[in-house]
Amino acid sequence: MNYDFIKLTVGVLATIGLYSALYKETKLYRFFEHIFLGLAAGFTLVAVWTETLKPMWWDQMVGRTADGSEESVPGLWLFAILVPIGLLGYTVFSRKHNWMSRIPIGIILGLWAGQQVQVWWTRYGPQMSDSMVPIIPTTSQFRVPPTDGLPTEQIQAIASQLYVSQALSNIVLVFTVLSVLSYFFFSFELKSRLVKGVNLSGRWLLMIGFGAIFGSTVMGRFALVIDRMFFIWIEWFKEGILRIPG
């Protein structure tokens, strides 16, 4: 029995243990849950030091002496100031000194808030501009002609027109944007029947959107179950025990 197979077997036991919660909450489930949490916490602690704090902070703070291939690098001892600032966060546990914990939080909030105007616009600006689409067709032809195998000039000529089917699609987009926006008019009473209708449509369209999101989410979750089954049946049972290549 080699090391890889032992590793796989432990993984299979952990999978079965965690899935036993589907039957009911068992001691087996609790056991593996605690192992998982402990492993994740321990791994994270070590990884944060080895992957981030050591190379990005400690090594740069203490500098480096020259060796055969690398020149010496002077230490940036100002980086040491980050330690007391960071430690101030822990004063939250002291009633007397907890006001000091607001200093690092304030620095983080200030940095974050300062970025938000530009960040918001870079994220949503292109989407807002993309929602403003033409809704009047430029040709009476309904469908976009097939372009497979056509020369580039003809494809470009077709692309320059707005066909009726495309205009209808754009109308759906514009109506969806406006009606969904109208759904969030909470500050005043909606009296007009037209506005009420648009508002209701917005609600329905939101529900349809949520349904699509739910479908995509479920598909993602199923993929995770299937992956676990693949791990048990193919990687462990078929390839590990029966020694049949997957």
Partner: protein
């Protein structure tokens, strides 16, 4: 059997029975290799075309923000991405900005794909020469800001093992030695299971082409970026991986190309004259092809269960009394 009783039976199926059925329908199809008919989505085609047309001499930034909790989808994404880049000899930088476990998970995938290449008689994709490891960054927003202003300062101090086995600054590697700013990077691909693509879009849009390979859960949140041109391409969930595997197998051509490398070659409606040859004779179909067949059975089970539950609800619904009593 009266309808009320039937309705109660349909509504009262124990959840343990449903879970058992799910495990059976998710497991049995895994033993069969079936090529499920599929038409790749345009966002995935655009991603594939981008990966196959970026200049090979400029590096790609691979931000790997997934762990084993989304292995079912993200590992297939990562494998497909690595296979395409390695077959084109595109150099890349690996880093993570979402989870401390993410870099190690990605390194394991690179090791496995390298072993696969070795078995197929292909050259190994060498660390330092072909790719470098820039590790984990706990503050992605800060990193992305720094990348936008000065990429050398953003990754400053990062070292990796060079060919001689000693640690050296990653900007001395063949991968990054010519990179002076973010615009020298060909593409940034985010393999993610959380909202990291939001942060990247907010800070790096228009500075470097961005692409997303996300889970099904993140798909609806990420797709508007593609629609508005903020992403050059996107592959969503298992379907996205299957799309990529299919395109690797059959290639992609533009609309105006008449001669196709294979009868099943995919036609991109967003491109005119491109021809991307299939990776013939190589391992293209892998994880997604295995899972996709099972996924259809699992989805069918869910649809059947929803219909049965709704029929049960209708049958057991008490008739309304007249006069509102």
């Amino acid at each position: 059997m009266n309808l009320l009783r039937l309705g109660k039976i349909l509504q009262g199926v124990p959840r343990q029975a449903l879970y058992t059925m799910l495990i059976v329908v998710a497991s049995v199809p895994l033993f069969f290799r079936v090529e499920v008919p599929n038409s790749p989505d345009q966002p995935a085609i655009d991603l594939f075309v981008t990966l196959n047309t970026i200049p090979a001499e400029r590096p790609v930034l691979v931000e790997s923000d997934w762990t084993l909790s989304s292995r079912g989808e993200s590992m297939g994404q990562m494998e497909a991405l690595l296979r395409i880049m390695m077959r084109r000899n595109v150099k890349f930088v690996l880093y993570s900005g979402a989870d401390p476990q993410a870099p190690q998970v990605a390194r394991n995938v690179i090791r496995r794909i390298n072993a696969e290449r070795k078995r197929a008689g292909q050259p190994e994709y060498k660390k330092w020469v072909d790719w470098v490891d820039a590790g984990y960054y706990p503050d992605l927003a800060g990193l992305a800001n720094a990348m936008a202003t000065d990429i050398r300062r953003a990754f400053a101090g990062r070292q990796d093992t060079n060919e001689r086995g000693s640690m050296q600054d990653i900007f001395r590697s063949p991968v990054l030695q010519n990179v002076k700013s973010i615009s020298d990077v060909a593409l940034l691909v985010n393999v993610h299971a959380s909202g990291t693509i939001d942060i990247l879009n907010e800070r790096l849009y228009r500075r470097v082409p961005l692409a997303s390979m996300c889970t099904g859960v993140m798909g609806p949140q990420s797709m508007p970026y593609y629609a508005s041109g903020q992403l050059v391409g996107i592959s969503v969930g298992l379907k996205g991986v299957y799309d990529l595997e299919q395109m690797m197998e059959y290639g992609v051509v533009g609309k105006s190309i008449r001669e196709r490398p294979h009868p099943k070659t995919i036609v991109s409606s967003n491109h005119d004259e491109i021809v991307i040859q299939p990776f013939t004779g190589q391992k293209n179909y892998d994880r997604a092809a295995r899972y996709y067949f099972s996924l259809h059975f699992a989805m069918t089970l869910m649809i059947v269960a929803i219909i049965a539950g709704n029929i049960g609800m209708i049958l057991t619904r008490k008739p309304k009394r007249k006069g509102g009593q």
